[in-house]
């Protein structure tokens, strides 16, 4: 089986670097994975002819056929439960959940079977499957279309959880997740789908389960993942204009967490602000705060602060600007940290 870190042949002649949106990068990444391995099948609601409501699977059914790109009946437990069976049979299913809030009918299969079969069989069964979830708010949607449920899955042993924040990562991480021998929950920042970036389709990507420093700074460290990475980069740019240099780390992997770069950073800056759209109670942000205070206790100049969604159901969309962490709330937390 392909290793999580993979080499790719050059595209031959033309420049290997393209400007892609996150959405197109995911589409290209899926296509590359399907070309590389005939056992990769993509399944979900409206992903065939329609190409998915976000068009992430656009054109795949036309090119790979109905047996590799399955428009499934409308049932998430069905999608995930049958993916388990397909994986046992040697396929590498990539499930699309249409929106974050619709993963819950499949929650039982994810927690009871996807997460536990390897353990129960002591490795006789592996489940190399990916569950793609467009997540987070900011698109003015109705209820159940803007949620951040990643902590439930990071809380569940047996699952790996990652989130991409830019086109290059989208392109590579989806392929690495598909190549991974463990089940991976793949959270896509839906409100950033149409943001563009450079993608080098020949460069050897770094490991999947690794955090990455995106901007170096000295005054404080910002940690985020998915859609909030852009928010933090914008906040850091704004702070720099005022002479405050913030370090920004993209977590990328939520389970297992890769906090070594965070610890290293906090030991230098002494201050940490964790930013996430998800509610704060018993969450990934709590986990980071707990681990960092344990590892960096003597380096911390201020308590770890969190800027998150509130501990309420996702509000009506007219209130999401208030609900979601934004540049101002991030900088407000930085100020509080600096003034501690």
């Amino acid at each position: 089986m392909a290793a999580p870190t993979m080499d790719r042949a050059g595209t031959g002649g033309a420049s290997p670097t393209q400007t892609l949106t996150i959405s197109k990068a995911l589409n290209s990444g899926l296509r590359a994975a399907m070309e590389a391995d005939p056992k990769v099948v993509v399944m979900g609601e409206d992903i065939g002819k329609l190409g998915g409501v976000f068009r992430i699977t656009d054109g795949l059914q036309k090119d790979f056929g109905e047996q590799r790109v399955l428009d499934t009946p409308l049932a998430e437990s069905g999608i995930i439960g049958t993916a388990v069976g397909l994986a046992i049979r040697g396929y590498r299913p990539v499930c699309e959940i249409q929106f974050d809030g619709f993963i819950f009918p499949g929650f039982d299969q994810i927690v009871s079977q996807v997460a536990k079969l390897h353990y129960r069989t002591q490795g006789r069964i592996t489940l190399p499957m990916v569950i793609r979830v467009p997540f987070g708010g900011g698109i003015g949607a109705v209820e159940h279309h803007s949620e951040s449920p990643e902590s439930y899955f990071a809380h569940t042993a047996g699952l790996k959880v990652v989130s991409c924040s830019n086109p290059a990562d989208a392109y590579w991480m989806i392929q690495q997740a598909i190549a991974c021998e463990d089940p991976v929950l793949f959270f896509e920042p839906k409100r950033r789908y149409y943001e563009k970036g450079e993608v080098d389709t020949t460069a050897r990507p770094g490991p999947l389960f690794a955090s990455r420093v995106l901007r170096t700074g000295t005054a404080a460290t910002l940690v985020a993942y998915g859609p909030m990475v852009r928010t933090c980069l914008d906040a850091a740019a704004a702070a720099a204009e005022d002479g405050t240099e913030l370090e920004v780390i993209d977590l990328r992997t939520l389970s297992p967490l890769d906090l070594a770069p965070v610890h290293e950073s906090v030991r230098r800056t002494g201050r940490l602000v964790v930013v996430s759209e998800a509610p704060s109670e018993s969450s990934i942000s709590s986990e980071i705060a707990a681990k960092v205070q344990q590892e960096c206790f003597y380096s911390l100049q201020a308590p770890v602060l969190r800027v998150t969604g509130f501990d309420t159901p996702y509000p009506p969309s007219k209130l999401e600007e208030e609900f979601l962490p934004d540049l101002d709330r991030v900088l407000h937390a930085v100020d509080r940290s600096l003034a501690w």
Binding site: E45, D46, G48, K49, L50, G51, V53, E66, D71, T72, P73, L74, A75, S77, G78, G101, F102, F104, P105, G140, A141, V142, E143, H144, H145, E281, F310, D311, T312, P313, P315, P316, S317, K318, L319, E320, E322, F323, D328, R329, H332
Partner: protein, 398 residues
């Protein structure tokens, strides 16, 4: 694609699952699905040509006034629907879920209900809301993003719209069980519950479990499935090998396929089903065979997955036109009547527009309100801190 031979048909004349099961030669040539064929079991009282036909089991007498009322309901809800769709196009709503084409299914079912009956909608049931006495302006908040629904579900006996496909079916089953346990079922004055869902929803576990619970507890519950032939881009045959109403048999209760574009037939069948339930003979499954004439929502582009020929075929089965033709033929309504209804629709649409653009923004504390019945100190502290932050921010700007 699968071939017709692959389809199981336990009842030879039952008609297709929806569709591709038995297309005509012309339709095959045109690449069309036979969505317009409801099959031999389809209950119909008013043909698309506006002709009144008899049915041995489900016939009703309606007066001129009643039929005019049904006509008016359908015209008004269609107008509300078109106006809301336009409001979305003008940026006044985030999204709209059109009911276009499903007016008869909803008005027929909605007018079959008694005030004491309870309804659990999905998200497209604007016509049912209308029949429950919910002002159309109350529907706007959900789609404008100012609220999750503003009516009182218990007072109106109309549950909040449910977006997670299938969830409400189990909730409805539980409510109906409660009606039974309370002794509110058993004679003609009994209560009943009706639950709405789509063809796509029939694949969800919750819906199957709802069938099981309803059956095992003899719940006074009408499962009302609007088979509008599509679940976003997926045709009904993606969900089922056999016609949806036939599923009821496997669970042990009656299943009826009604012409969902025929308001009279839908009224007759639903009234019968609710009466069965209130008398203690529930549950019943109704499949209203209809068509989604517009996009799934304003965010959807149906040209990517269906042919406009299909739409053209269904235009000939318009639910409102056939009633109008019948009213005219019977001399039950004249031009002045129809103009009056149009004028009423104009006023309703104008009210909707005016209301929509004047809707206030919700206050920030709405984020935190109503999460719990009993206060949570953690959340209260979070709210206070945030409101403090917001007020400081506002102050700084002035």
């Amino acid at each position: 694609m699968s071939s017709p031979e692959q389809w199981t048909r336990p009842e030879p004349d039952a008609g297709p699952a929806a569709t591709a099961a038995r297309p005509t030669a012309e339709q095959v040539i045109a690449g069309l699905r036979a969505t317009d064929e409801g099959g031999a079991d389809l209950v119909q009282l008013l043909t698309p040509e506006g002709e009144r036909v008899q049915h041995p089991d489900f016939d009703i007498d309606v007066t001129a006034e009643e039929l005019r009322g049904l006509y008016r309901d359908m015209v008004l809800v269609r107008r509300v629907d078109r106006e809301a769709n336009a409001l979305q196009r003008k940026g006044q709503l985030g999204i709209w879920v059109p009911l276009l084409g499903q007016e008869a299914a909803q008005i027929g079912a909605g007018r079959a209900m008694r005030p004491t009956d309870m309804a659990f909608p999905s998200y497209r049931e604007h016509g049912i809301a209308w029949c429950r006495g919910i002002p159309p302006t109350d529907l706007l908040g959900i789609f404008r993003g100012t609220d999750h629904g503003t009516w009182d579900p218990l007072e109106k006996r109309f549950h909040p719209y449910t977006i997670v496909i299938g969830n409400q079916v189990l909730n409805a089953a539980g409510y109906a069980m409660g009606q039974k346990f309370d002794g509110a079922v058993g004679d003609d004055d009994g209560e009943a519950t009706i639950c709405f869902f789509g063809d796509g929803a029939t694949s969800q576990g919750d819906v199957h479990e709802g069938f099981v619970w309803g059956a095992v507890y003899d719940a006074p519950l009408v499962f009302f499935c609007q088979n509008n032939q599509w679940a976003i881009s997926e045709p009904t045959e993606r969900q089922s090998r056999l016609p949806l109403y036939q599923r009821a048999r496997g669970y042990g209760f009656p299943g009826i396929r009604v012409d969902g574009n025929d308001v009279l037939a839908t009224l007759a069948v639903t009234r019968w089903a609710l009466d069965e339930c209130r008398n203690g003979n529930g549950p019943v499954l109704i499949e209203a065979f209809t068509y989604r004439m517009d996009a799934h929502t304003t965010s959807d582009d149906p040209t990517r997955y269906r042919l406009s020929d299909e739409l053209e075929m269904w235009k000939l089965k318009d639910p409102i036109e056939r009633v109008k033709v019948h009213l005219v033929k019977q001399q039950w309504a004249d031009a002045a009547y129809f103009e009056g209804v149009e004028a009423e629709a104009d006023v309703l649409a104008a009210e909707l527009r005016d209301f929509c653009v004047a809707m206030p923004e919700p206050p920030a504390q709405r984020i935190f309100s109503g999460v719990y019945a009993e206060a949570s100190p953690v959340l209260d502290a979070q709210r206070d801190e945030f409101l403090d932050y917001v007020s400081g921010f506002a102050g700084g700007e002035h």
